[in-house]
């Protein structure tokens, strides 16, 4: 399987999972056996090849990398209430390490889902747009981040 095919398959899977609303991260685990091989091959390819090798865009690689770590993180931590444990997860740390390469996909998820990965954005931009200690609606927080991301041209 070529890297292009892996990316295509991952993208299709991620899209279908995202369209499955709230059950998305459960569904992906249930389908894990089917997709395990794909994920493993993608991880291997990502570690060992560059976009130049396959003539595909860096954006496609970033997308596959982001959703790989994101789905793994959700699968491993969604039963926890303790936020600090979620932030300590190695997949979450990998998302942090992606830095601004992760932003277009955080933005994309936030447009489709109710939530937005605010703590991740705090780390990437080194600032907070929610006001700690205050009662602010998620829509206000989302709109502030959308504006900042769009203004900085990071989509």
């Amino acid at each position: 399987m070529t890297k292009k095919e892996i990316i295509n398959e991952l993208s299709y899977h991620v899209k279908s999972v995202l369209e499955n609303e709230e059950h998305s991260y459960i569904s992906i685990v249930d389908k894990k056996e089917i997709y395990n091989d794909v994920m493993n091959e993608a991880s291997f390819a990502l570690k060992n090849k560059t976009s130049k090798d396959y003539k595909i865009s860096q954006r496609e690689i970033d997308r596959a990398e982001f959703f790989h770590f994101y789905n793994e993180w959700r699968n491993q931590t969604y039963v926890l209430s303790d936020e600090s444990l979620k932030e300590e997860n190695s997949n979450y740390k990998a998302l942090e390490q992606m830095g601004k390469r992760a932003v277009p996909f955080i933005y994309e998820l936030a447009k489709k889902e109710d939530g937005i990965l605010v703590r991740l954005l705090d780390k990437i931009y080194n600032c907070r747009l929610d006001e700690p200690g205050k009662y602010i609606s998620i829509n206000v927080i989302k709109n502030r981040w959308f504006k900042k991301i769009e203004e900085e041209g990071d989509i």
């Binding site: 459960i26 939530g115 929610d130 200690g133 998620i138 927080i141």
Partner: protein, 170 residues
Amino acid sequence: MKIPESLRILFPNLNKDAEMVGVPSEKYNCIMYALGANAWNIWPFDGPGSFTANIHGNKMFWPEDLPKDKTLNNFLNLFKKFKYELCDNDKFESGFKKIAIFCKKNSDIVTHAALIGKDFALSKLGEGPIIRHSLYSIEGEIYGEVRCFIKRPGNITKDFDISVITKYIK
């Protein structure tokens, strides 16, 4: 609804007839559910005040007049605000709401809370689904063990006293 295989991997001792009774939601967690409502997450967080945005941007509440640590004693003081008191057993009592509090093994760090029913328990699993299960079947690596029980007059259906939280909104 059938329990997803993913949950059985996370909770290998989960009883066979456990079932999913509510859909996943990032908007509220086990503590809020056990208290009887489905808005906000309740958990200690770093930072000032009584509210913050959680990792998904949803509201997180912890009263500012309590410390922000995850110890059992701190959680018991939270539940006290909702008129819960310690009790000594896991038996369902008609006319009372009873909650089991889970802690990490060999530690007083709270991990989870479950509502106790007659021959079953109800748990909101973090941002995951609500499940109906045997109380002790979710003990293990993730939630540790059942550490204590609390109760207050009332019934298992929603009877959440919202004023306990709204008084902290400035």
